[in-house]
Symmetry: C2
Subunit: 331 residues, 2 copies
DNA sequence: CTGTTAGCGCGTTCAG
DNA sequence: CTGAACGCGCTAACAG
C-alpha cells in the first residue's frame, strides 16, 4: 500500500526556508516583491517538500477559483463535442479548468447544474440553453455568463446564424423545381430551431413555395425515422430537417420504404456533423461550432480578466453544402 | 445594471435567526442534530437572505469538494461523448460535479490536466489514458483513480474487451475465404490498440491467415484515407481498422479509387460509433462505452463514499456486428 | 440540543 | 524587502 500522506502546507515550506508564510505566499504569486535570493531559497524548499499551493484555500481567500462551467443539452449530440473541445482548448490557454454539464435538454436539470457549479466558477457558458429568458437574466446577475446560440439582449452571446444557410437551401430546392417542402423542427426551447423554422418560412414565401412544419421534440436518428411517415403524408417533395441526425434518420427510413433519394425525395440537414458519411452524402447547412466554442470562451475570459462588461452579439454565418441528397423535384 | 452583491454568510443567517454559526452549519449538514423548531427558524432566515452555503469554505474545512475529473484523449472522437454522458449522469446521481479534460492524445497535457484538477477533486477517471504505467501509479497514490481501457494492476479499471469481437471478425473473414488481411493500428499509447492488434494476430495464426500491421498514429477519417494506399499495397483482401473513423476514411478512399466494397475489398471497423450511417453500412465490433462510463463512476464513487480500496478489474465483452462492408474474398 | 473555541491554508493589510 | 496579525466562511471537537 502506497501511503496517501497529507500535503505539505505553506507553513512547512516557510519553516524549511527560514522565512514566514507571507514570503512563501509572495514567492508564488508576486515573486518580484521579493529578493531573488529568498525566492530561490523558497522554491528550493518547496521543491524538496513537494509543496503545491492549496487551490481551495487560495480560492477562499481571493474569491477566484480559475474554473468555468460549460453546459450543453446533450454531450452525445455530435454538434457539441467539437464545440466543447474548442472551448476546452481555449480555457486551457488561460489556465482555466472547465466543468462540463449535461442538461439532458431539461431546463430544470440545467438550473440545478448552474446552481451546483455556481459556487466554484468564475463564469459560465451556456450552449443552446433551454432556460427561459428570465432565468438566464437572473443567473447572469450573479456571475458572468455567455450564451451560445441563444439571443438574449444584454447578455454576451455568440450565435451561429443558420438562417443564411437555410435560406440558400430553400433557394437551392426552388431552383430544382420543388414546390412543396416541409421543415422538420427540433427541440422547443431551441433558439436555433426557431431561427431555422422562420428562415424556411420566409424564403419559401418569397419563392412562392408551400411549406408545412412538422414537430419533433427530441432531435435524433430514431425520431427522424418516426416522423418520416408524417413528412410523406404532406405530399411534399423535399424536407429540411432541424439537424443532420434527424435527416439521417429520415434517410434510413426513406430507403427502407423504397423511396430513393434524391430521385423521389430530397432531404437537407443542418449542422454538417456527419460529413460525407451518410449515403447518399447529405446536403446540409454548414456548421461553425468550433469557432463558436472558441469565441465564447475568449469572450468570457476577456470579461473575467479585464472586468469588461461587454454586450456583445457575435454572429457567425453559414452556407449550404450541396452533396447528394437533393435533386430535381419528382415529376 | 443589476447589482452583483456579495453573498450572505453563515454569520448573517445566524444573527437573523438568533442562533450561532454552528447551528446554521448543522441545519445544513446534519439537521437531525437540531430541534425541528430551530431548523425551520434557520431555514426561514436563510431563505429570506438568499443564503447558500459557501462551497469553497466548506471544502477547505472538510477536505471534500464533491468534484471528480474525467480525462479523455479527444472529446470529439465519437467514442467518448456517450461515455462522458453516462459518466456525467452517474456523477449527478450522487451530486458530484465533473471536470472534463481533453488531453489531445498527449501524455504531457494529460499530466498537466491531472495536476490542475488535482487540488479540487476527490478522485479522477482516466479514459484511454496515454500516460505511462509508472505515472498512473504515481498519480493513484495521491488520490483515488479509476481507469477505463487501461490495464494497470492494482488500480481499479474497467476494460472494454474488444478482443472477443475482433476474434469474431477474423473468423468471419476467414469463413468468407480471406487469406491475407491487414490490421490498421491506432495511437501508440493505446491499450485498446495493443489489445486489438494482438487479437488479430492470434486469431489469424490459428486460422492460418497472413496478417500485416500498418501503423497510423492519429486515428481519424483523414488518416484512414491516407493509409489506404499502403493497405492495398500489401495485397491483402480485407482490413480490420483500429476504429470506425479510420475504417470510414478507408471506405471513402476505396470508393474514390473505384474499388468496390465489399466485392473487391472487405473492411471492418471497431467501436460501432457510426451506426449504419456509412455506405455501405460498416461491419464493426460492438461498443460498450456507455456501460464503461457508468461503471467507472459507480466504482469511483463507491471508493470515495465507502473508503473501499478495491482492486477491481471489470471486463465488458464485445461481439461482431456484421453489416455490409464484408464479403467473400475476391477471386 | 446548542454555544464556544479552534483551526482549515492562504492572501493581505500594515508596520517596520 | 520582510514579518506579524487578521480574516475568508465554514466545520469540528468540546463543553454544557
Amino acid at each position: 500500500m502506497t501511503q496517501r500522506r497529507t500535503r505539505p502546507t505553506i507553513n512547512q515550506v516557510a519553516e524549511a526556508a527560514g522565512v514566514t508564510k507571507s514570503s512563501v505566499s509572495r514567492a508564488f504569486t508576486r515573486p518580484e516583491m521579493l529578493s531573488a535570493d529568498t525566492v530561490s531559497k523558497i522554491f528550493a524548499a518547496a521543491e524538496k517538500l513537494g509543496y503545491v499551493p492549496n487551490h481551495t484555500a487560495r480560492a477562499l481567500s481571493t474569491g477566484r477559483h480559475g474554473n468555468i462551467a460549460l453546459i450543453v443539452p446533450d454531450v452525445a449530440n455530435p454538434f457539441f463535442p467539437p464545440l466543447i473541445r474548442a472551448a476546452q482548448a481555449e480555457a486551457d490557454r488561460s489556465d482555466y479548468c472547465v466543468f462540463l454539464g449535461n442538461s439532458d435538454e431539461n431546463p430544470q436539470q440545467e438550473d440545478k447544474l448552474i446552481g451546483r457549479f455556481g459556487g466554484q466558477v468564475e463564469g459560465l457558458v451556456l450552449a443552446s440553453s433551454r432556460l427561459g429568458d428570465e432565468q438566464i437574466v437572473a443567473h447572469s446577475t450573479r456571475r458572468p455568463l455567455v450564451l451560445i446560440n441563444r439571443d438574449v439582449e444584454g447578455i454576451p452571446r455568440v450565435l451561429i446564424d443558420s438562417a443564411t444557410g437555410v435560406a440558400e437551401a430553400v433557394e437551392h430546392l426552388a431552383a430544382l423545381g420543388h414546390k412543396r417542402l416541409v421543415y422538420v423542427s427540433g427541440p422547443h426551447g431551441s433558439w436555433s430551431n426557431k431561427q431555422r423554422r422562420n428562415a424556411v418560412r420566409r424564403s419559401a414565401r418569397q419563392l412562392g413555395m408551400e411549406v408545412s412544419v412538422i414537430s419533433n421534440e427530441y432531435a435524433a436518428f430514431e425520431s427522424g425515422r418516426r416522423i418520416t411517415a408524417n413528412v410523406l403524408a404532406t405530399g411534399a417533395t423535399a424536407a429540411i430537417a432541424f439537424d443532420d441526425l434527424t435527416a439521417q434518420g429520415m434517410l434510413a427510413e426513406l430507403l427502407d420504404r423504397g423511396i430513393s433519394v434524391p430521385e423521389q425525395f430530397s432531404v437537407v440537414g443542418c449542422d454538417d456533423v456527419l460529413g460525407a458519411a451518410t449515403y447518399p452524402a447529405l446536403t446540409t447547412v454548414s456548421n461553425r461550432s468550433v469557432e463558436a466554442g472558441k469565441t465564447a470562451l475568449t469572450l468570457l475570459i476577456d470579461i473575467l480578466e479585464n472586468n469588461a462588461i461587454r454586450d456583445v452579439r457575435y454572429v457567425l454565418n453559414t452556407s449550404l453544402v450541396v452533396r447528394g441528397t437533393t435533386g430535381p423535384a419528382a415529376g
